[in-house]
């Protein structure tokens, strides 16, 4: 255990507690299921709040100057296969775990009145999902990671399928079948990777730290990265593997959309950052041009599609595709600033998309339609709602002082100074791609402002609104959850330093992992 720095001796226990709390919550909800629905809401909200509080303690205790894992626990699990229960926090995952814990109570509070049937089961599923997502982030063992990665599918399948809209079964099957296809190939790659490591170095282990040492010829790296990348790219989602996302978002209940956009989509980019690129660095660098092109296409294509949507949920769904493109761009730049921008952008998108989906859910609960054309002039009817709406719109567009600005700016900066593979030196491609990516910012402003203008200003239009029964503005519960998100958005926008510091060493280690060649000496020596 000496390799793990942990001044804070309670830390490992606390991290385990943070991870397993949702399971405690599941048991409590199951015990209380017969009592009443309100109790299961309370339990879920309570458990998530405690989880967030404990995670905040860990975040504050996290030592930004120490590299490597902190608060780590390692227990042998399936010893015969070299699988261990290895969890810990590092600069890669700390912000994402904090984000997950932060969104937990918000999801439960956001679903407080809109989920009316099978309430206990809903909260069981949300808690299980929270457990799986948290687990995938903190896992430092590939087998464990895969377990949590796959386990996320099942609660999401039920959340969309049971509480979703009219075409929910189609959407949820599409979601699961898309993601499961990627996972199956990743499983094959995982097996092969561990097997070849055992054969070449005699080490049987699934720990990330050990796998980072594996030497593989470029051809093998390419195939394995392909399998990993397919799985992650589906989750991101990158064009052209994105088609499940709008369907899943549109049919999902608000809580489902919030989790999907807030946390689940980050799994893909996190996977690239923590596994895909560092495990197969030579292949990753060889594929930088292709992947960057795809990322830029995702930015522009997602934005263009968002521009023409008539369903308000789809606008945000396509904008997610666009925003996550920046994350990929930053990661692929291999510049410190770009990588850090990517991490910030992940968190920022989590906050902003969660806020926007909550806002859409709130208006849907009141008016029962998501057609953009059905709305107009909401600013006069729902002033508080509109203020929050404007805040999140501007954050999504990347207004300075909001989190969106920090993330996009740094990621783009990275893209312009990117360390491209040597054979592309003197080539215009990097510059062209970076410039095209910038147009995404302009397009983003266009579709979000079009959305806000139609929605908030102009003639007053809102279904189910009449002078006798006016639409009610936000309730205290709704104001508080949006208020919390707003605080987070501004905090990350105004004071990104704290967050940047915590991720700096991780970004450096990512950079050195991906730029160090790991093809075995003597094997053709193809170094791109």
């Amino acid at each position: 255990m000496s390799e793990f720095t942990s001044e804070f001796t309670m830390g490992p226990m606390l991290l385990n507690l943070v991870l397993w709390l949702p399971i405690v919550g599941v048991s409590l909800v199951l015990l209380a299921a017969r009592a009443n629905d309100g109790l299961s809401r309370l339990i879920a909200a309570g458990v998530m709040t405690v989880q967030f509080a404990l995670m905040t303690v860990l975040y504050l205790q996290f030592d930004a100057t120490a590299a490597g894992l902190q608060f780590a626990t390692q227990l042998p699990w399936i010893a015969q296969w070299g699988v261990s229960y290895l969890i810990g926090l590092d600069g890669f995952n700390i912000l994402l775990v904090l984000l997950t814990a932060f969104l937990g109570p918000i999801v439960v509070l956001g679903a407080w009145t809109s989920i009316k049937k099978d309430v206990p089961l809903f909260h069981v599923m949300v808690l299980l999902l929270q457990f799986a997502m948290m687990g995938a982030f903190v896992a430092q063992d590939l087998f464990l990671f895969y377990l949590f990665w796959e386990a996320m599918l099942i609660p999401m399948f039920l959340i969309i399928g049971m509480w979703g809209g009219a075409r929910r079964v189609y959407a949820t099957l599409k979601f699961v079948l898309y993601t499961a296809f990627g996972s199956i190939l990743m499983l094959a790659a995982v097996i092969y990777l561990v097997q070849s490591m055992q054969q070449t170095s005699g080490v049987l282990s699934f720990a990330f730290a050990d796998l980072y040492q594996t030497q593989l010829p470029l051809s093998v790296q390419t195939i394995l990265l392909g399998a990993f990348a397919l799985s992650f790219a589906i989750k991101v989602p990158m064009v052209p593997l994105h088609t499940w996302l709008p369907d899943a978002h549109v049919e999902a209940p608000t809580a489902g959309s919030v989790i999907l956009a807030g946390v689940l989509l980050k799994m893909g980019t996190y996977g690239f950052m923590k596994l895909g690129f560092p495990l197969f660095p030579d292949a990753a660098r060889a594929f930088t041009p292709l992947l960057t092109t795809l990322a830029v296409i995702s930015i522009v294509y997602g934005a263009c599609l968002a521009l023409v949507q008539t369903d308000i949920k789809k606008i945000i769904a396509y904008s997610s595709i666009s925003h996550l493109g920046y994350v990929m761009l930053g990661l692929l730049s291999l510049e410190l600033v770009g990588i850090q921008g990517a991490i910030i952008q992940m968190v920022s998108h989590g906050l902003v998309a969660a806020g926007l989906f909550l806002l859409v859910g709130m208006i849907y609960d009141r008016c029962h339609t998501r057609e953009l054309a059905a709305y107009g002039g909401l600013a006069r009817l729902l002033p508080v709602y509109s203020v929050f709406f404007m805040i999140f719109t501007l954050a999504s567009v990347g207004l300075p002082t909001t989190s969106g600005f920090t993330g996009e700016f740094l990621a783009l900066m990275g893209a312009f100074t990117a360390a491209w593979p040597a054979h592309l030196d003197g080539n215009n491609l990097p510059l062209v791609l970076a410039s095209v990516a910038v147009t995404g910012v302009v397009l983003g402003a266009m579709y979000m402002l079009r959305f806000a203008l139609t929605f908030l200003f102009g003639a007053v239009k809102a279904p189910h609104h009449s002078p006798e029964h006016p639409l009610l503005d936000l309730s205290l519960r709704e104001k508080s959850i949006l208020g919390l998100l707003t605080i987070a958005v501004f905090a990350l926008g105004l004071f990104p330093d704290g967050a940047l510091q915590k991720t700096e060493l991780a970004a450096k280690s990512y950079q050195s992992l991906v730029t160090t060649s790991r093809t075995p000496a003597g094997s053709a020596g193809v170094t791109p």
């Binding site: 399928g161 929910r168 499961a180």
Partner: protein, 465 residues
């Protein structure tokens, strides 16, 4: 060959079998005396539990012996496999309570289990053949016991014909092998695998085909859906899990020590792969849960035979773990299935619509079973699949591992469809639907415990195999 029988070894090594035999005799005596048929079930349960416990106890000693030289032997691994399969028979017996009230089920099941116990211990083809026949013959009658249903006779007949064909093929293979090698020992099979002699090779092919027939590997699978559909639920559960597992253990015994190589590899590579793909595809359009499970079991037979591609060393472990993980969840699904006076309605997918709203526990259990069969983590089906494919990759058949995994992906859809039917549709209960009986629920609880143990502590379970 000297044949010496050590009396103490004969008593101890066959202790599990003796308990089963004792149970059979007791049930018969009780039937003759006309004592209540309900107690037959308890006697059978007692016999199976004692027999399973004996096998576990011996395997932990650890105990190894060959009481009948060249015919029957036990090792700790074999005893562990027997104990585990016998333990799986407990939920089957508990489930039968609702379908059969007389003693015949108990007698037939115990007899079939006796055959099951012989298979992994068989050292000669004679004992193996005895085991296979003893395993299958009571099942003809068991299938027929669902006589209220018109298909049961047809099902039993199909199974009889299939089993007859398999037996004939097996015997033909054995006689050719005997002709070529002059030995009835199963060990000659391992050597014969790599042989290029035409007679030996034919023998090996015939033996393999008889195993494929019994395990319902494509293209020898057509009997399975019809037979499974016609039998009553406990019998279907028994056939889908234990008899299949027993045949696979017999195959492990046959292949003992032999790494698969030579020209016959292709047969062992291609047919299981086709099984996986075809079984999963054909399952998609089934309307009856039992037929779906039949096709799913065809696919799973494919994964199981994949286990033979890997090195001989970990084969018993991989196959046994897979059989356990696969069986325990199948039995779980069947045990919690709601009762219905019309056995045919009991598991049609229409009747299961919206089950979650009527019986959340049963729906959750069936869902767990489906997810595990689909091989999704964290359920034990995943660890089982992982172990098999890990061995396949380690043996160097990476392409086949990828193809097999993609084939397994094809299956996810229909397992999810069951969950969709259970949770995402509104449905009304058939008027005759009731909750599963108390003993069936106990069976479900047992299987759930087994599922959890395999899911949470796969390492512990593997360490014992």
């Amino acid at each position: 060959m000297t044949s010496s029988v050590n009396a103490q070894d004969a008593l101890l090594a066959m202790l599990p079998e003796h308990f089963l035999l004792g149970g059979i005799v007791l049930v018969i005596i009780m039937a003759v005396l006309g004592r209540g048929s309900r107690s037959a079930l308890w006697v059978a349960l007692g016999a199976v539990i004692a027999s399973s416990a004996a096998a576990f106890w011996l395997s932990n000693l650890p105990y190894a012996a060959a009481p009948f030289d060249g015919q029957f032997s036990v090792t700790p691994a074999i005893l562990m496999a027997k104990g585990a399969l016998l333990a799986l028979a407990v939920p089957v017996l508990l489930m039968s309570r609702t379908e059969f009230t007389d003693g015949e089920f108990s007698i037939l099941l115990l007899s079939s289990l006796y055959g099951l116990c012989l298979l992994p211990s068989a050292d000669s083809f004679l004992v193996m053949f005895l085991g296979l026949e003893l395993l299958a013959m009571p099942v003809y009658a068991l299938v027929l016991l669902a006589f209220r249903r018109p298909q049961s006779a047809e099902s039993a007949f199909k199974y009889l014909v299939l089993s007859g064909a398999a037996s004939a093929t097996f015997l033909m293979g054995v006689s050719l092998l005997y002709g070529a090698t002059g030995s009835m020992s199963v060990d000659v099979f391992g050597a014969a695998l790599a042989s290029s002699d035409i007679m030996t090779r034919t023998a090996v092919v015939l033996l393999l085909l008889s195993l494929f027939l019994k395990a319902a590997v494509v293209p020898f699978h057509a009997w399975a859906p019809d037979t499974y559909e016609g039998a009553s639920i406990p019998v279907t559960a028994y056939m889908a899990t234990l008899t299949k597992g027993a045949v696979l253990l017999a195959a492990v015994r046959l292949f003992a020590g032999a790494n698969v190589s030579g020209p016959l590899v292709d047969l062992l590579l291609v047919l299981p792969l086709v099984s996986i793909v075809w079984g999963n595809l054909a399952a998609i359009k089934q309307q009856s849960f039992r037929r779906m499970i039949a096709y799913s079991s065809i696919a799973h037979a494919g994964y199981l035979f994949y286990g033979f591609l890997g090195d001989a060393e970990g084969r018993m472990q991989a196959v046994l773990f897979y059989v356990l993980a696969y069986s325990v969840v199948n039995l779980l699904a069947f045990a919690v299935m709601p009762q219905n006076t019309d056995d045919e309605q009991r598991d049609s997918l229409d009747a299961l619509k919206g089950l979650y709203h009527r019986n959340p526990f049963a729906a959750a259990m069936i869902a767990i079973a489906m997810l595990s069969l689909a091989g999704l983590p964290p359920f034990p089906g995943f660890a089982a699949k992982f172990l098999i494919f890990k061995n396949v990759v380690a043996a160097g058949y990476t392409t086949y591992a990828v193809l097999g995994l993609v084939g397994s992906y094809l299956g996810i859809y229909f397992y999810l469809r069951v969950i969709q039917v259970l949770f995402m549709t509104a449905g009304e209960a058939a008027p005759s639907e009731q909750r599963a009986g108390g003993m069936a629920r106990a069976a479900g609880a047992l299987c759930l415990v087994g599922t959890l143990v395999l899911a949470v502590l796969p390492g512990w379970a593997l360490g014992r195999m």
